[in-house]
Symmetry: C2
Subunit: 72 residues, 2 copies
DNA sequence: GCGTTTTTTATCGTTTTACGATAATTATTT
DNA sequence: AAATAATTATCGTAAAACGATAAAAAACGC
């Protein structure tokens, strides 16, 4: 079974925004955003996801990806 | 503020799969899948999202979309 | 190197909410 | 009309986000 991976890091580099700044603009704690950024979460609220997309001006697919595992 | 919308319906038509069938293959109740399909949820677990992507053979962006509201 | 700032990790508590089970209602199909 | 599929409603449980705080680690500037 594949898994969902968060690619927040990539977009943050592209938008040249720090974790602290993004957290403040998104409206969540930097601690929690760090957890999201480093794939330490197993679910996400749409309100949070929407806020991130809003600030980063991107689509969901730029942040969330389905990574199917290689079947050996 | 925009919002996240689920476009499960579109992919189900494309894959020609019924709600009951998809629910069984994904491994969640048809009741809950119906709620997901009709945007009655405000968050989603990655395990569920991954299973859906797996069965429908699609990416997250095909199912979840960020819809920014038109600022009048 | 040394201090400063940023980021990550850890722990704990609260709140949100998915998800299941069940039943009832409403399409949809035959 | 009957059967099937899908939606909605209610209730309960479990999962997990998210916040607060503190501590550790990493990145940065001097």
């Amino acid at each position: 079974m594949g898994k969902i991976v968060l690619r927040l890091d990539r977009m943050m580099v592209e938008r040249k925004i720090s974790l602290g700044d993004l957290a403040e603009k998104v409206g969540i704690s930097n601690v929690n955003l760090s957890r999201i950024k480093n794939n330490k979460v197993t679910a996400i609220r749409f309100s949070t996801l929407a806020a991130i997309c809003e600030i980063l001006e991107c689509d969901v697919g730029d942040i969330l990806e389905y990574e199917k595992d290689d079947k050996s």
